[in-house]
């Protein structure tokens, strides 16, 4: 009754000293399993069951739940952009404007000119590196950037507008997004119809549709037209079912032990230590929502929580001065870290907590 409970008979094959069982592919085709385009088995959904799962057998197919969306509703949510430019809005922006926006809103994570530097993605460079393999220390790895890897500029426009900047997405208008795309293409030395993207270059919808990304042909099997999608994709690598006297193998151990798991690795079953730090736990929660985006790494130049040396410098000015700076904003830090809901007292408690953790 259930297809997958059938035992598939494996024809055995003696080959040298190994017992090899031939690939099961032919066997499963013989047993009549249908496969989908990903190479996976399709289990039939009958009137009564789907594999081992039983189903409601009343066969009701009309529900009439919900309603039709309005044109405005579809317009509000249907903001994706396709490789052929479908969905691309009107607008324009220059490389220079993009440069300014980038320095103000992107460089802190992605580095000057998209060159990376922090743990966040590098956006430029790497062209010609995709065949690199980092097999041992010293090898150059491949670099997957907008210029070296991304196949379509449509993805760039769509992603920047819907998901960036990381902590303030959906804040860039169409002109600003055009400007940022122009800037990112320019730092990747991508030309449009033979024109280099100098500072004064203005990217418009019309010019956008002419962009050819260098790695457009670097992907398979799915193109935007889908004409070359292969049916029943094979596995990346097929194993062999050898049972006896198979190939001798060498055992490779870990070379450098990694620590730094959070929390520490432990399977000990004991009673946890008293949680006298409840106040700190509450502050940690506020910290993670309001401060961690900048203070958990040094990308923005904010003192990293836990960095003893930097915090020693910070409190040299006196704790009161730190309170005042945080309240009014300092350097890249907006007043109250951008969280205007924080009261003065809450902000000071947070600072005390951050100082304590960084001692």
């Amino acid at each position: 009754m259930h297809m997958f409970v059938h035992k598939i008979k494996l024809p055995g094959l003696i080959f040298a000293s190994c017992i090899l069982l031939v690939s099961l592919t032919s066997a499963s085709e013989e047993s009549g399993l249908k496969k989908n385009i990903d190479g996976s088995v399709i289990y039939p959904r009958t009137k009564t069951n789907y594999s081992l799962y039983l189903l409601n057998t009343q066969n009701i197919t009309t529900f009439n739940h919900g309603r039709k969306p309005t044109a405005n509703e579809i317009k509000a949510w249907n903001v994706d952009i396709m490789p052929d430019g479908e969905g691309l809005p009107e607008g324009s922006g220059s490389v220079e404007q993009g440069d300014e926006l980038y320095s103000a809103q992107c460089a802190s994570c992605h580095g000057d000119f998209g060159a990376g530097g922090s743990a966040y993605p590098t956006l430029s460079g790497g062209q010609g590196s995709l065949k690199n393999q980092l097999l041992q220390a010293g090898d150059e790895p491949p670099m997957r950037t907008i210029g070296s890897y991304w196949p379509y500029a449509s993805t760039l426009f769509w992603y920047i507008q819907s998901s960036m900047p990381f902590n303030n997405p959906k804040s860039l208008n169409n002109d600003e997004t055009y400007a940022l795309v122009a800037y990112l293409l320019s730092v990747n030395e991508i030309e449009i119809e033979g024109h280099e993207l100098e500072d004064e270059y203005v990217l418009t919808k019309e010019k956008f549709l002419k962009i050819k990304m260098p790695n457009e042909n670097g992907f398979y099997p799915v193109s935007p037209t889908r004409s070359n999608l292969k049916e029943q994709r094979p596995p990346l690598a097929q194993g062999i079912r050898c049972m006896k006297n198979c190939k001798e193998q060498n055992i490779v151990f870990i070379k450098n032990e990694i620590t730094g798991f959070d929390p520490k690795i432990s399977s000990v079953k004991d009673l946890p230590k008293n949680k006298k730090q409840d106040k700190d736990a509450a502050l940690k929660e506020v910290y993670s929502k309001s401060c961690a985006a900048c203070h958990s790494n040094d990308a923005l130049g904010a003192p990293v929580m836990g960095d003893k040396t930097t915090w020693k410098e910070v409190i040299k000015k006196g704790v009161k001065q730190v309170y005042t700076n945080a309240f009014n904003g300092i350097n890249a830090m907006p007043p109250r870290g951008g969280n205007m809901d924080l009261s003065k007292k809450e902000l000071e408690n947070l600072i005390d907590y951050m100082i304590k953790v960084s001692k």
Binding site: D38, K247, L271
Partner: protein, 437 residues
């Protein structure tokens, strides 16, 4: 009942009535516990005091039944938690992953609080009253559903694993993490409840040119992925239930897409919109990321199913055999799974792959689901290199590390499914190790 025990129970019952009359519950109990003299049995070195002495939890009341309105694990299990590592994040703990403690999981269901959590911009909290799902594009009847309306469809429940395609990716150049949690913890499994997408779509009238579906999340990152219609109309589901309760926020509350067996990121969380088109979208997460760079510099895109895979979960570095005595009978057990179908066979090797033995499959054996395997041995206190090799009903056999690298190089990041295992020392310590020719 012997005399001593009788006396003890008298004592306890008189104390109980005393406590009833007084408010000094906890303090009095602590003070009076010294009244409970140990039983005067003949002392013998063979006696286990866990048996011969009264257990403290047997002589006092337990916690109030309503202590936790949402139940908690035993406090002794506080180390059974998800863990993170900065090596697996991109600079913060919003766009990162917490790894599931597979070494302490039983059966084929992950408790909701231990389900691995991967997100691209943090765990979003969606207001269920303002939740809307829009279905539009190449179909006759575009649709908007509230959560309540979606849940009116007849529900079905399925057990499926979800695995991030980067699970195991730290091993491309050799073994790195010396624990199961970080070797394979980027996956978990649940019983999901929802409605098959094809049931919902049947009355919406898909155009025949509708070949692709965009699934988009409503979170900060607007996670968007393109799904081919063949999967949509096979086993895709809209799910709102996870192991008998509403989806956890970490898993996309109130609604996520479920694509059984496919890359975790395709199972879009906080699902907001489904659009049908004749063309694929090429979103950021299917071009810049989740594409698999090959040795020739070209990348495989739209790589969907998680391939056949297996891992021994006992023993493992966190569950060593160091307490075993020579001659003890012990079970080797683990998990096998495949996004291409149902597990048919699991073989294990004790000698690093020279000889193999067919293991038993245990419990429910379901499509695109974790499947338990088992093989019992007598511990001989000799070094072992344990491996497991799974085969599914699509005909896919788990490859060796050498074979996979020969085919795809080491820079693909994703879909690393070769045969792996653990080295066991004479003392029963367990280490992560690879076998290579």
């Amino acid at each position: 009942m012997n005399k001593n025990t009788e006396e003890s129970s008298k004592l306890i019952s008189s104390r109980r009535s005393f406590f009833k009359k007084t408010a000094f519950f906890t303090a009095s109990l602590a003070a009076s516990s010294s009244l409970l003299a140990p039983l005067k049995l003949d002392a013998s070195s063979l006696d286990d005091e866990a048996i011969t002495k009264l257990a403290p939890w047997g002589t006092k009341l337990g916690d109030l039944v309503d202590k936790n309105h949402y139940g908690m694990p035993s406090p002794y299990e506080h180390n059974n938690v998800r863990r993170v590592h900065d090596l697996l994040s991109s600079g913060d703990r919003y766009a990162t992953v917490s790894m599931s403690p597979l070494h302490q999981q039983e059966g084929i269901i992950t408790p909701n609080g231990l389900f691995f959590n991967r997100s691209h911009s943090g765990t979003t909290q969606v207001d269920p009253h303002k939740y809307r799902l829009m279905i539009h594009g190449l179909l006759h009847k575009p649709l908007v559903l509230t959560l309540e309306e979606l849940k009116r469809y007849p529900s079905e429940s399925r057990i499926h694993f979800i695995e991030c395609p980067a699970n195991g990716s730290t091993g491309w150049r050799g073994p790195q993490f010396d624990n199961l949690q970080f070797v394979k913890g980027m996956m978990s499994s649940a019983e999901w409840t929802g409605v098959p997408l094809k049931v919902v779509l049947k009355e919406l009238g898909l155009h025949k040119e509708a070949k692709w579906m965009l699934a988009e999340g409503s979170d900060n990152s607007e996670m968007a992925r393109t799904i081919p219609i063949e999967k949509v109309l096979d086993d895709a589901m809209l799910v709102w239930g996870q192991n008998g309760e509403p989806l956890r926020a970490e898993q996309g509350y109130p609604v996520r897409l479920l694509l059984p067996g496919w890359e975790g990121n395709l199972n879009v969380k906080w699902l907001k919109r489904l659009e049908f088109s004749s063309k694929p979208w090429h979103s950021k997460e299917e071009t810049s990321k989740y594409t698999m760079l090959q040795k020739n510099g070209k990348a495989i895109n739209y790589f969907w199913p998680m391939e056949v895979n297996s891992i021994i979960t006992s023993p493992c570095p966190e569950n060593p055999w160091s307490a075993l005595k020579k001659g003890d009978i012990i079970e080797i057990s683990g998990l096998a799974w495949s996004g291409r179908g149902t597990i048919k066979t699991v073989d294990i090797s004790l000698d690093g792959g020279k000889n193999w033995l067919e293991a038993s499959l245990k419990g429910l054996v379901l499509p695109k689901s974790w499947t338990r395997f088992s093989y019992i041995i007598k511990w001989d206190a000799k070094e072992k290199m344990l491996l497991s090799r799974a085969i599914d009903d699509s005909g896919h056999i788990q490859p060796s590390i050498d074979k996979l690298i020969e085919n795809v190089g080491v820079e693909g990041i994703y879909h690393r499914n070769p045969i792996v295992g653990w080295f066991v020392s004479k003392k029963g310590e367990v280490k992560n190790a690879h076998v290579r020719s």
